[in-house]
Amino acid sequence: MTTPGGTPVAAPAAAGDTEGVGIAALDAGRTHRMPGWFVILWRNGKCRLGLLLLAAFVLVAVLAPYIAPFGPRVDAFATSQGPTGAHWLGTTAQGEDVYSQIVYGARTSLLVGVVAGTLSTLIAMAVGLTAGYLQGFVDEVLSFFVNLGLVVPVLPLMITLAAYAPVKGLGLIIVVITVTGWAHGARIKRAQIITLRTRDYVTAAKFAGDSTARIITHEIAPNMMSLIVVGFMSSALGAIGAEAGLAFLGLGDPQTTSWGTMLNQASLGGAMTTGQWAWVVAPGLILALLVTSFTLINFGVDALSNPHLRED
């Protein structure tokens, strides 16, 4: 589950007098209506494919009721069927339509990804920015929690939390993922702000009389945009994976239709023994496809996070 190395770093620019190029790229970004970072993302072919793929997923999730032939929990069909014309991917042991569940599952995965990704990014920002900017005692305390978050074994913690929380459901999964997944982002953001806080424009903002909060939100945060996007992407990706894993282990809410729960139920429901390969293969593949879209986008985000591009 854990992949070392973190976000891949893009190849650094060739040396030389290429300032003009950097300026040109950023200028071009400004001629569009879109934010500059989006333009850079969009220009990258792989990233564009990823964005389109993700957009397709979002569309499927939003339009699930129109796309799916049946409700995800409608169990009015013959049980444990293989793929047929009426049920493209067969039915579950409870007689639900697998294809419809796949369609609705997109909602869960995206919701978890977006919400948990956002929450852990927000926590990471709040902690990382505060610690990095204020330094001193506050930093010591917050850094302790960050380091703690980094060394506490995440998956066991997730499992324990998910198993013992008094409520079940997607909300819990999101909370668990958020609680266990913010530390890494916080550490990176703290490191980043420590370099940014010594920038002259931050000093300049102090001289201009801006408050600390304003400096963090208006001067520093915009310059960390790509870092924040990267952080969000990896948190979202982690969250989607974690949800699937937890659900697969049976720690999710079985009433939520998600690809992880589908795999769990396929496993429990004897999909392999009844030869319903579609029930097993489909959720995994579709999950892989969603992860692929994120990975492709990450290629572009790497270009963003390349310091040569990021700095003015």
């Binding site: 444990s80 409520v167 429990l268 004897g270 023994t273």
Partner: protein, 555 residues
């Protein structure tokens, strides 16, 4: 089972690796092996308990952690067979109620421990008194009823604090251990009995590994002639649903107790001649209504609901046809049909009749409004929640059908899916409108009825009740329970049970929907004579009874 051809290509690359490591796996399940003396060489059984990484533990009182082979090594005085609840003499020849407070067993002569020492009444006396000393071992709660246990020659005298009829099944669930071993054990609560455990049972330990536990035939067994199996191998059954189902379908287990989806297709059809299953009915899964809340406090409302549920649809769709329609009587039929009043139609099963339910509801004052909403006595639309543990998918599916039934009667029912733990908690504290509960199903009818209905067991809303979670308070019920508790003769017992059945039928403190199934699969490759629907001489759990019925397969 269809095997996708494409997988061949997929695996071609790794084939070399596979060939290098080739060698078949698993236990050989299909070979016939009848050894000398007309006995079966060995049988492969399912799990032996003990968790993911079992440790040897043959202490028969450590219920939660002992390994299953223990059940084949220790025996009780009598066996109350779990299907028809008939009493079978076992380590005791016979018993007699000297008076309602005194029970005397005649110990079977000639029984030997598997170390060659004789089994005596002293062993029984020692066993029970050890449980008295170590309440942690008294898992059946025998000493809640007992006053003393004394050996008297070949007899053992049990004296009770009060008329002890209802304790009979409890006494006979206590496995008897050898005094000459256990008296030397310092602390029997931490005694694992791991090294060659001494018992009276038909099997004794041969070997143990966390994957497989092997027991071998006890040649000194008091009915050794009936044991036709040389070896029982228990196999760790922990590979998770699919794989275990697969192993089962390959015939790798001669006996197993798994949940298998679509068992006809995945198991029986693989070898219809030898693969069999028998899912005997267990305790009823019932709809619990919170009787302290309206409209469930109205008996006419409850009575109307008995006709409102489509049992058959639940059984067919949500329970995959593995279970049977539960009788409203609270008893498990057909096993306990002797206890039913003869006048009861269809053994107490109430059919699905939504029209009648609708009519009765209306008559009882629950009218529908213009929009088809069923109104309560207060004139407001009836609206309540149905709590079902979210991870029990079959229960959830069942509850959906039941909720549909209620909705079609104009009630607004919302499904809630808490965790099993919090559903249990909510049920115990009375924090629910409608939910599922399980009760009864044992051979002790006093327990069967007192647990869900005795007013002594209940607790106010908000407090945890260890029984009677529907909060049923009825003097007649309590009186009948009191009679049942002390009824020594079967007739007296029946009389009391009839009264309780009447209450179930008329007052409807809960509505049984289906009987929980006892998973039991077996193959007849090597052994025959397993209990089944046609020859229900024992329940799946009466392992000692059916082991002595097994014979080598003829074909």
């Amino acid at each position: 089972m269809s095997r996708p051809r494409s997988t061949t290509a997929l695996v071609a690359g790794t084939a070399v690796l596979g060939l290098l490591l080739a060698g078949c796996t698993g236990t050989d399940g299909s070979g016939k092996s009848t050894g000398a003396g007309g006995r079966i060489d060995y049988l492969n059984f399912g799990d032996f308990g003990g968790g993911a990484a079992p440790k040897p533990n043959y202490n028969p009182y450590l219920d939660a952690v002992k390994l299953s082979s223990t059940l084949y090594m220790f025996e009780t005085l009598y066996i109350v067979e779990g299907n028809s609840c008939k009493e079978k003499p076992w380590l005791a020849d016979s018993y007699k109620w000297q008076d309602p407070e005194t029970l005397v067993f005649d110990i079977r002569p000639g029984v030997k421990w598997n170390d060659g020492k004789s089994f005596t009444a002293k062993d029984v006396e020692f066993t029970f008194n050890m449980l008295k000393k170590h309440p942690a071992l008294d898992v059946r709660g025998a000493w809640a009823k007992l006053n003393s246990v004394k050996a008297n020659g070949g007899k053992v005298v049990f004296s009770f604090k009060e008329p002890g009829a209802s304790a009979f099944t409890i006494i006979n669930q206590v496995p008897i251990v050898p005094k000459h071993i256990w008296s030397k054990v310092k602390d029997p609560t931490t005694f694992t009995n791991a090294k060659s455990p001494v018992g009276t049972g038909p099997m004794k330990m041969k070997s143990f590994s966390p994957k497989q536990l092997v027991t071998t035939r006890n040649g000194r067994y008091w009915q050794a002639d009936k044991v036709k199996v040389n070896e029982i191998r228990f196999n760790k059954t922990d590979a998770g649903g699919q794989v275990e189902q697969l192993k089962l379908s390959r015939g790798e287990y001669d006996q197993q107790g798994l949940y298998v989806p679509d068992i006809q297709k995945t198991y029986v059809n693989r070898d219809p001649k030898h693969h069999h299953y028998w899912y005997a009915p267990g305790g009823p899964v019932s709809i619990y209504m919170n009787l302290t809340r309206a409209p469930f406090d109205d008996v006419r409302f409850r009575r109307a609901l008995t006709k409102a549920f489509d049992h058959q649809k639940v059984i067919r769709r949500a329970q995959l046809g593995y279970v049977t329609h539960a009788s409203q009587s609270g008893l498990v039929v057909p096993g306990q049909k002797d206890f039913l009043p003869k006048t009861l139609p269809d053994e107490g099963r109430i059919g699905y009749d939504p029209a009648a339910a609708d009519k009765e509801l209306t008559k009882a004052g629950y009218k529908k409004d213009g929009e088809g909403r069923r109104l309560g006595k207060n004139g407001k639309p009836i609206s309540f929640s149905f709590k079902v543990p979210g991870s029990y998918t079959d229960w959830v599916a069942s509850s959906k059908i039941l909720i549909e039934n209620l909705k079609s009667l104009g009630m607004d029912v919302e499904q809630e899916t808490p965790t099993p733990k919090s559903q249990e908690e909510d049920r115990a504290t009375g924090n629910y409108d409608m939910t599922f509960g399980v009760h009864g199903g044992t051979c002790n009818n006093y327990t069967n009825f007192s647990e869900p209905l005795s007013s002594a067991r209940t607790a106010p809303i908000g407090k945890k009740a260890d029984g009677n979670q529907v909060r049923w308070k009825d003097a007649r019920t309590d009186k009948l329970l009191g009679e049942l508790r002390v009824a020594v003769s079967r007739d007296r017992q029946k009389q009391a049970v009839h009264g309780l059945v009447d209450i179930m039928m008329d007052e409807v403190p809960m509505i049984p929907i289906w009987y929980g199934a006892k998973w039991f699969q077996y193959t007849t490759n090597k052994a025959e004579g397993w209990p089944n629907e046609r020859n229900a001489y024992a329940a799946a759990g009466d392992n000692l009874v059916w082991l002595t019925h097994l014979t080598p397969a003829k074909d």
